[in-house]
Assembly symmetry: C2
Amino acid sequence: MATAPSERSRVRRAPKRADYDRETIDAILDEALVAHLGFVADGQPYVIPTLHARVGDEVLIHGSAASRMVTLLGAGVPACLTVTLIDGLVLARSAFHHSMNYRSVVVLGTARFVEGPEARERALEAFTEKLLPGRWDEVRPPTRQELKGTRVLALPLTESSAKLRTGDPVDDDEDYNLDVWAGVVPLTLAPGTPQPDARLREGITPSPSLAAWGG
Amino acid sequence: MATAPSERSRVRRAPKRADYDRETIDAILDEALVAHLGFVADGQPYVIPTLHARVGDEVLIHGSAASRMVTLLGAGVPACLTVTLIDGLVLARSAFHHSMNYRSVVVLGTARFVEGPEARERALEAFTEKLLPGRWDEVRPPTRQELKGTRVLALPLTESSAKLRTGDPVDDDEDYNLDVWAGVVPLTLAPGTPQPDARLREGITPSPSLAAWGG
């Protein structure tokens, strides 16, 4: 459980659902496929979905060198990266206590550019492997030109927190007598049957990474 | 497709994936179960996952009257509400062109408090029905006290945009000859078997709303 690493990263609402352990935080960041990155431009907050990959004590994001988000973050504006995993509908006996089960992580801080083609290549490897473990070794590696046009940013996990809701609905005592079904409908991000690219050459079967993953 | 309602809500990266039609925007907001709400406090952006429900030309969120987010938003600070639906892993022939299929909406603006117990009750109905259509009529309605402790905020959809990536990977021409499987692994948020509350009274079967939904 640990304690909040800073006052501003302390979970304020429902603090009993907070968890500041890096093990918990890392597991949520690693499972989530998409992060929501917040930054401010001209006084207006923007929240942009983006791919991320945790490597050690940092979470990486990447984008075009021409992107406003990348430029601002690289210049050191304050950022907030949030991921949320949806685990279930919580159906209570009263409308008021309906909720969701979820696991989320909020990371506050300032990002730094990951510099140099080799470090950027390692980052691109992390993004590719996060989507599908084993994929990196099966595909064409990035060219010098591709690495040049990509910027990678690293946000430290020093100010991070997790928040989780799990388990049954919590109803008011008197409501447990109601004739209403209550419980949880689990939700998971489930893979379907892989759809081959329309331009896939004949005779090419799913690569080992996909087969290992259940494709 | 339409055009961006304002310069700041114009999609800057990959503008060919932008869609400013309300029909597209509404469908994405309605399908998404969780929104990420961005606001600024003491110069630091925060991105907080929260339930939302679109009603007409506004998207509603709710929270405790004691919540900092609710207090700030009700005071009229600039906000950004973003939802993202994850549709698939895009597996290209090169590491560089790996991506995700997704549908996202970004709403910029300033929220207003929804005032009065009746309007707040309608909002709570919208949240409950969004989780599970038909649920509202099966459960105990909110009490006066519950409505008093809840604040509802409405953010207009006047400055909103959608961004979508669909379909096959886009590889470089020369890469289509590579011996690499490429395609899309579809991803959907799939419901599992409903788990009855440990304190569910004997003999209570899943309510019609749950049965209708496939539970």
